[in-house]
């Protein structure tokens, strides 16, 4: 399917959906005029119109006029929305759910039997095209759908297909993970402020440090332990600092965090 002829719809027009569409548009994957988004109020839709997308308050219209339909509602709203749009969903549609905690099994149950369904878990930095996304396919989605999604969404960051069981782990690692990084950045800056640096400068430097370190990790492909060792001059400042981090069992705490978020995602999906 050529991107230019692809009609893309978004049911729900919140922050995640907005992030994805920005990525698609900026990468020139889809013309804005081919994008239609629906939401109950105009609050979110203004931003979409500014991008050149079409908007509506009618979910059914999105399904009628799109081939690729992103479901981007809040979890508790989704069952009602699916019931509403179900009559209009056909075998030509590709339905991609961004909705946290809603399994492929549930989606397939609430949609017509032959529907091509995929489930994606993005993360917040999709908004700046530096996201990390994983997706899984349902029983009727094939290689073509998988390739299409990957092609489109790599414009928003890293996009990988995974078994559905990894999606909750992705939540713990990267969905929530973004918050762990914000916490770390805040703490770094606070340390600097304690030592006498102004807060705003400290915050910018903290963010750039994280960005730079992450960039090196991604670009060199080296093991993080090796990169860490490269920074540690014998008897120098870094090793002293790392010792403090190890004393605080930072590693275990981070592992605990990922585990807790993943478990919570699993629990929530069961509800």
């Amino acid at each position: 399917m050529e991107a230019a002829e692809l009609w893309v719809g978004f049911v729900g027009a919140g922050r995640m959906a907005g992030g994805l569409v920005r990525g698609l548009l900026q990468a020139g994957k889809v013309p804005a005029s081919n994008v239609l988004a629906s939401a109950p109020s105009d609050k979110n839709l203004d931003a979409w119109r500014e991008l050149g997308c079409r908007t509506t308050h009618c979910n059914l219209e999105v399904v009628h006029r799109s081939t690729l339909v992103f479901l981007a509602t809040k979890p508790h709203v989704l069952p009602g929305v699916l019931e509403e749009i179900r009559p209009a969903v056909g075998s030509h549609h590709i339905v991609v759910s961004l909705v946290a905690g809603v399994t492929i099994q549930t989606l397939q149950r609430l949609l017509p039997p032959s529907t091509k369904v995929l489930r994606i878990m993005p993360n917040l930095p999709c908004v700046v095209q530096a996201g990390a996304m994983v997706f899984s396919r349902g029983s009727n989605a094939g290689d073509a759908e998988s390739a299409l999604l990957q092609n489109l969404l790599s414009s928003c960051g890293l996009c990988e297909e995974v078994p559905e069981s990894y999606i909750d782990i992705h939540t713990g690692l990267s969905g929530s993970g973004v918050a762990y990084v914000y916490l770390f950045a805040e703490a770094l800056a606070e340390g600097a402020v304690k030592m006498g640096m102004p807060g705003a400068l400290a915050s910018r430097i903290a963010a750039q440090t994280l960005l730079g370190a992450a960039k090196m990790l991604l670009e060199t492909g080296e093991h993080p332990a090796k990169l860490r060792g490269d920074v540690c001059t014998p008897g120098g400042t870094t090793i002293y600092a790392l010792h403090q981090l190890e004393k605080g069992a930072l590693r275990a705490t981070v592992m605990d965090a990922v585990e807790a978020a993943t478990n919570r995602a699993c629990d929530m999906a069961k509800d």
């Binding site: 093991h223 993080p224 332990a225 010792h243 190890e246 004393k247 069992a249 590693r251 275990a252 592992m255």
Partner: protein, 315 residues
């Protein structure tokens, strides 16, 4: 070449055993001396065919390379005793933790103008020829002298030259290191026993696991972090176990240990430099010797003994 050991304890025994097993030195070319003939290592040395004597002076006379294999507080006594017999030909190798080259050179220079001194830090696995040794050469020790020692010590494990100021750190890491490993192995074996393994098997498997891991690391270009990852299948047993280790601050405990050993070594060196050593640090036999030779010194009343000023009546 003949080698002598002043001191016939664990270190002398380990080195003698290692050298003979490596075939770099025949046992009869090794002499060891100690005033204490009851040490278990003494009979071990004798059985090896090493020449054992109670006279430190005899050891000096019959050796080219002279290892000072006594505890650090004893070093000054030894230097005082054998100093007159040290000649320019001797290579004096001190293995004592925290004892500086300059303190030894200072002591010996009253007897010999240009004493060749090398300071080394080794560890007990020299006994099985898997030692870790570093050395630093003193003012009058030539490159060849260092190389000679390096050849000897390389026969019993890894050996490399370092700057003297790193030796305390080496003490903390590989000097004390085998003790950390023994502790870990004991605990690993306990874990095995708890989960149902017979003790002997648990010890054997634990030791082999550490041996194998160390060997892999030494032979690999990879970072230990990468090697660790290679063992951890997603959601598997190992990663669950590692999480426990991290939660317990395993890494920081090890860092703390190396740091503590290094700092303590420096403290002891500092104490030695100040020439004040607590009495408790001195072995009983040596105390008796001191009492014998300096009856005016009241050991009971003095809380500290100044080692460098006590004069031996014998020469």
């Amino acid at each position: 070449m003949s080698v002598g050991f002043i001191g016939a304890g664990q270190l002398a025994f380990a080195l003698a055993r290692g050298f003979t097993a490596a075939g770099v030195l025949a046992a009869h070319k090794i002499t060891a001396s100690s005033p204490d003939t009851d040490l278990p290592t003494v009979s071990g040395l004798r059985k090896m065919g090493v020449n054992f004597t109670v006279s430190n002076k005899d050891t000096v006379k019959s050796s080219d390379v002279l290892f000072l294999a006594v505890k650090p507080p004893i070093i000054p006594f030894i230097l005082e005793e054998v100093g007159p017999d040290i000649e320019a030909r001797h290579i004096v190798v001190s293995c004592a933790a925290g004892v500086t080259i300059s303190s030894i050179e200072k002591k010996l220079s009253t007897f010999c103008p240009t004493p060749k001194v090398i300071r080394c830090m080794t560890n007990t696995p020299v006994i099985v020829r898997e030692g870790a040794t570093v050395y630093a050469t003193g003012t009058h020790a030539d490159v060849e002298d260092g190389k000679l020692l390096e050849q000897l010590m390389a026969s019993v494990g890894f050996c490399t030259e370092v700057e003297e100021d790193l030796i305390d750190a080496v003490t903390g890491l590989s000097g004390s290191g085998p003790a950390y490993a023994f502790t870990a192995l004991d605990a690993l074996a306990d874990g095995g026993v708890k989960m149902g393994l017979p003790r002997r098997l648990a010890v054997r498997l634990g030791a082999q696991a550490l041996l194998g891991a160390a060997k892999m690391l030494l032979e690999s270009e990879q970072h230990p972090g990468q090697l660790k990852d290679n063992v951890c299948s997603p959601g598997g047993a190992t990663i669950h176990a590692l999480h426990f280790l991290e939660s317990g601050g395993f890494r920081s405990l090890l860092i703390n240990a190396v740091e503590a050993s290094c700092i303590r070594t420096r403290e002891l060196q500092h104490l030695a430099d100040q020439e004040k050593i607590p009495l408790a640090a001195i072995k009983k036999t040596l105390l008796d010797k001191v009492k014998l030779e300096s009856p005016s010194l009241s050991v009971a009343s003095a809380s500290k003994v100044s080692l460098f000023t006590s004069k031996s009546k014998k020469n």
